[in-house]
Symmetry: C2
Subunit: 237 residues, 2 copies
């Protein structure tokens, strides 16, 4: 009965594919995003996706694009530092909503217009604040991945599940061994918990670390800017 299929799914298009992929990644992790699984979620045969997306790489690019496009622009008329800060923290909120985005962004190689637009907006804030293009360039590099709202996890990034919970006695032995081999790590890890040794395992306040680093960099930028920083002149013509 053609024309009668009540629940007939509407046609696919690029946007529906990307949104489904983002949802799938949100719910089941980026590793679960395979062409086959995604097609299944869309009630369609795997090869159908290839009519809307060149290949899996482009799918990932599109997913990253989709979430980056949702980063809120800062209010207009802000001081450059606040503008940058707002935009970066907005990016961070996005990354916290889509934890897979961190890894996806890191693995992307091409720079799509959406990605460029974000970078452009950030660069624009510095330039509007009177920074030289030169200094802006270097400061953006100094920010690094923080422009995407994340910084690398230096210490713990335990996967879905920790390998195994050790027995209490061997845990004690392990801790002693750790303290002997990596005393400085122990010192700074303990510092993060205010001296509470037992709390060391839980990692640190990521948000604080992120803002600490962001401010360190922005303050450094401000100091250079005020000091009239310019890159060493190349050989004069």
């Amino acid at each position: 009965m053609p024309g009668f299929d009540v629940g007939a799914r509407e046609r696919l298009n690029r946007e529906r594919v990307l949104r489904a992929a983002v949802s799938l990644a949100d719910e089941a992790g980026i590793a679960a995003v395979s062409m086959r699984r995604l097609a299944q979620d869309l009630g369609v045969v795997p090869m159908a996706l290839y009519k809307h997306v060149a290949d899996k790489e482009e799918l990932l690019d599109g997913m990253v694009d989709t979430v980056i496009a949702g980063i809120a622009p800062p209010e207009p008329g802000l001081h450059w530092k606040s503008a940058v800060r707002q935009r970066v923290l907005a990016a961070r909120r996005m990354v916290l909503r889509h934890p897979w985005a961190r890894q996806a962004i890191e693995s992307r190689t091409s720079r799509t217009p959406t990605v460029l637009a974000h970078l452009d907006s950030l660069a624009g804030a510095f330039l509007a604040g009177g920074f030289s293009a030169d200094l802006t360039h270097h400061v953006m590099h100094a920010l690094g991945n923080r422009v995407w709202g994340f910084s690398p996890e230096l210490f713990n990034a335990p996967g879905p599940a920790a390998p195994r919970p050790p027995a209490p006695d061997e845990q004690e032995a392990t801790a002693r061994e750790f303290a002997r081999r990596f005393p400085h790590i122990l010192a700074i890890a303990t510092a993060a918990t205010g001296g509470d040794l037992a709390a060391v395992g839980q990692g640190c306040d990521e948000q604080f670390e992120f803002e600490f680093a962001l401010d360190l960099l922005l303050d450094g930028a401000e100091r250079l800017h005020r000091a009239g920083w310019r890159s060493a002149a190349p050989a004069v013509p």
Copy 2:
């Protein structure tokens, strides 16, 4: 004829496996490192590798370990800043020798003893310089991936080959469009080449960017240290 196979390959062991994997990655890229291909290089059947390595994850961990273990420690008795700088730049030389290491490190989730030893040594330099554990902790986070000798590539990381060389006329149109949509990017990209528009495509001086960021962070750290920085005290007991 047992006992007669003149060129009999000696037995495998974990180290031989890891070294072969590193060589393979050096020569053919990290994507070429599959259990099957690696086994072939070693003249052995794929499953043989599993007697020396639990699974592919552990292989990658081992490869990262192998190269990190080769990072030169800084000379003793250095000022903290020089010590950190030397060790980080040594890490960078390692990453430049093994370009795949960047991606591999980023994708690793577990922190092996070798990895911890590197971090510990770095933390130790700050602490020996009189930094509080607290400040050291935050500064290490601020350094982020730079402790491994790389910073994220904000702009170009073209894969093995650029997608395709556009015809000159459409290139001109593309450039005009780019300038219209991303004026700030254009400004800072041009700055990096000293105003040479034609040279924009080649990216920037990565080494310079790396050291710029590193120094920005280290100088910021030094300023905080000298100012007697301490994290906001938690509610007093």
